[in-house]
């Protein structure tokens, strides 16, 4: 795995992400500054980490989405390259037009920082091959704007094409408003692009990969990515 982690001013989860990528893949990812215009040669995974790029000014992710490196990410994604956006990374991907929809203020107006349960809808993607379809995983969230919404036509398309990859659920996998902490439409926690090579998700799988932290449910995503990239190579 030759991962590149994008770094914008105000991002604060890039080191967690880099650490996880190193632990799982054995390789240190490249850290790529937002003013760069090219990704390192041989990059096979671009990761946009969480945080508060540009202090969430204007709209979450709006300014980062228009920075020079994002043109390179657009070109790379157009060629089928894998892109993972977590939390602010998901917001940036939506603002950049790489994923549809938008992340609005949480329904209860609070910043929510705790573990949530996610139902993995599909295991046949490079991002989720380390899980079983229908599996429930426990991972943390930390966001004030994670309430996913798009127009009705877009939601119908996402659902029809099986592009909702993660949903908030109860510990036993039921989709229930009581377990949809931010009010996202259809409890959507993560979606992929039309080609399936760009994934955006609000929760932080990178924070649950070490037994010493207590939970390792996030490992599946990164282990699966390593496997998918090995197979492609």
């Amino acid at each position: 795995m030759n991962a590149a982690v994008l770094v914008f001013p105000g991002i604060n989860r890039e080191r967690d992400m880099a650490r996880t990528l190193k632990i799982i893949s054995g390789r240190q990812p490249a850290m790529v500054w937002h003013t760069d215009r090219e990704l390192p040669a041989g990059t096979d995974l671009v990761v946009i980490p969480g945080g508060f790029s540009y202090g969430d000014y204007l709209r979450c992710g709006a300014i980062a989405a228009r920075s020079p490196i994002m043109d390179a990410v657009r070109a790379y994604a157009a060629k089928g390259g894998l892109v993972l956006g977590v939390c602010n990374g998901f917001q940036i991907l939506c603002e950049a037009g790489l994923l549809p929809g938008v992340l609005m203020r949480n329904e209860n107006l609070r910043f929510i920082c705790r573990d949530v349960y996610l139902k993995v809808e599909r295991s046949d993607t490079p991002f989720t091959r380390g899980y079983n379809a229908g599996q429930v995983v426990r991972v943390p969230v930390a966001h004030g704007e994670g309430n996913y919404i798009a127009d009705g036509e877009t939601i119908a398309k996402l659902e029809g094409e099986g592009r909702v990859i993660f949903r908030y659920c109860s510990p036993d996998g039921m989709i229930d408003p009581d377990w949809n902490h931010n009010g996202a439409i259809n409890a959507i926690a993560g979606i992929v692009s039309e080609r399936g090579n760009v994934l955006g998700m609000m929760p932080h799988p990178e924070n649950h990969v070490e037994a010493s932290i207590g939970l390792t449910d996030g490992r599946g995503m990164f282990a699966g990515l390593v496997e998918a990239l090995d197979r492609a190579a």
Partner: protein
């Protein structure tokens, strides 16, 4: 030249902040408020004196950055 771009949420988009403000107004005893929608105002200063040019420029600015047209509408007013 001075101009103002007003960005508002499209109708039908849930506005939790507007709802909270609405509730706060009510708790202040300001009765009669039936709905609040929150938006943004950008006061912008521009070079030149061509109003049509300024409008075209600000439309671009709104489409490219100031508004997220998935959820927001905008209005451009060149004050002169």
């Amino acid at each position: 030249m001075k101009a103002r771009v007003t960005v508002t949420l499209k109708s039908g988009i849930l506005d939790p902040q507007g709802k909270a403000i609405e509730g706060a107004l009510r708790s202040l005893g300001l009765s009669g408020v039936t709905a609040v929608r929150q938006g943004k105002v950008f006061d912008i200063e521009l070079e030149g004196a061509d109003k049509a040019k300024a409008e075209a420029l600000l439309k671009q600015a709104a489409d490219k950055l100031l508004a997220n047209t998935v959820i927001e509408n905008y209005k451009v007013d060149v004050v002169g």
